[in-house]
Symmetry: C2
Subunit: 316 residues, 2 copies
């Protein structure tokens, strides 16, 4: 554990990229055009926050159960989950950027998928990325045994629930509905905050929670440990979203790699719009602290505390 | 087994509708608008061919292993798979109908989802239906035990592979690419037939095969039995597609509940376009016979032979 968190993050990011490259389909299994479109969005220089969180959760859980786990074991067990989470995150960006949704043309400094490949192929590549998450998560693991299969099916259930109508897609529905309405016309801060929280807990929070939980499940965490990870990641998700809203106001296109000031232009409800910038910063800091507090009962926090600080301090 | 096939089909259709109603999310789990959009497409009067195939495969496999299985057991084991298959089929129709794809305004006699709810919500409801298939397939079954969990994760793997870039989505990519090109410009019948087959095997065939295979897996079929189901359903899928192409030429909007003559208008490669109507009918008949032949080694065929005849003779 002597390496810095930046070194750790960079190493995991490379491992995740390698794993994604290995599991994405290539011709002749699939047509070349869909393989290309999927890769365009997956390898666009993302931070890999969610899959790093999956691996860090798996590492923390493994050390919890066994103080000296073989170094690669937790990562090997959880990597399919890390890939699945990142594939679902990527699909959601591709579909959210489409003209009938956020109608965005720039993402991570490059043209969005529908600008580069056309709307039809962008929709299909999103569909394929979402579906492939469940391919990744359900592959047999040699020597895995019935216990690992039980973990896999629990991970599928948790990830699908987080991504679906009750989670991420539901949040995007609320977002689409809220644009231009200033939080459904709510004019008091407390109402607006409630609406905003519900939307973000679904749209962003549920997948961040699932990322941590899936890591805990696949590496064999007990129900109690998985619950701790879930609570930690719920605070983490809130911090992430508040910081995201602040960056949309303060950031530049160059730093963000995407259009800045979009939320205000679309009259979307955001933390700075409802609470102001200064109070939003306080709320973000509190959410990071709450994430730390949630870890108190864990014997080994591994990199989870570092990740909370990272989320609270990111500038793009 | 004394009831007619029509009675059997109708009974299973009702049971499947009930099961779908039970598993689809409702508020407050998800926003009301997404629940409504999902239901609009799921309960549109479909034939439920694929989920009936899943249940019939499960029944045939159960009788294979045990001549007197408790009547409801195979259906209970396989129903989550039947629902998952139908949810994926429904999502594919919603997305295929979108303006950047087939741009269709009529489906099963009603406005398509994007006409009724707008493009953004149609895309999101398709995403939610696809995701919910994996929620359905991964729910714990009381008394299921590790053996059922192993079957579930195998079913997830098989269904996700069938639906993704290498299967259904890949087929739609080829379809989107082929429109207006007359099978990528191929001008000889044999080349055109090869291109057409590859597209249909992915776009339609892979999900029909997965429907039968998932039924076999969830009800505990051996690898050999599941292989038999797979071969049977591959022929069934081919028969289905040829008949579909013939109906697009011969059918009326009233009988089909969707726009007729679309394929020719879009210059899509079809069986009648390449082989002519008469020879297409011969090819469909041969595919139905091949489906029957594939069942020869099964001790109990259950309703699988009836389903092959149904697919060969359907008029809408």
């Amino acid at each position: 554990m002597s390496q810095s968190f930046e070194q750790y993050r960079e190493r995991r990011r490379r491992e995740i990229d390698d794993a994604l490259e290995r599991i994405l389909p290539i011709p002749p299994v699939c047509p070349g055009l869909i393989a290309e479109t999927m890769r365009y969005s997956v390898f666009a220089g993302g931070k890999r926050l969610r899959p790093i969180l999956t691996l860090a959760a798996a590492e923390a859980v493994s050390s919890e159960e066994d103080p000296q786990p073989p170094e690669d074991l937790p990562r090997g067990l959880a990597m399919p989950g890390a890939c699945a989470v990142e594939l679902i995150h990527t699909y959601s960006l591709v579909h959210d950027d489409l003209p009938p949704m956020d109608d965005d043309t720039l993402r991570r400094g490059r043209p969005t998928a529908h600008v580069a490949f056309g709307e039809g192929f962008a929709i299909l590549s999103g569909d394929a990325l979402l579906t492939h998450a469940f391919v990744a998560l359900s592959q047999p693991r040699s020597g895995g045994g019935p216990d690992y299969e039980r973990r896999q099916i629990r991970a599928v259930a948790r990830l699908a629930e987080a991504a679906g109508a009750g989670g991420m897609v539901g949040g995007q529905v609320l977002d689409l509905n809220a644009s231009g309405t200033g939080a459904e016309g709510a004019n008091r801060e407390v109402d607006a905050d409630r609406v905003l929280r519900d939307m973000h807990e679904r749209k962003t929070g549920s997948l961040i929670r699932a990322a941590a939980v899936v890591g805990g499940i696949l590496s064999g965490g007990t129900d109690d440990t998985v619950d701790v990870l879930d609570r930690y990641a719920a605070h983490l998700g809130l911090a992430f979203q508040i910081v995201d809203d602040i960056l949309d106001v303060e950031g530049t296109v160059a730093a963000l790699g995407k259009t800045a000031g979009k939320d205000a232009a679309a009259e979307k409800p955001t933390y700075p719009a409802i609470h102001g910038l200064e109070r939003s910063r306080v709320l973000a800091r509190r959410a990071v602290e709450a994430a730390h507090d949630a870890l108190t009962t864990m014997k080994t926090k591994g990199r989870l505390a570092d990740i909370a600080d990272w989320v609270g301090s990111r500038s793009h």
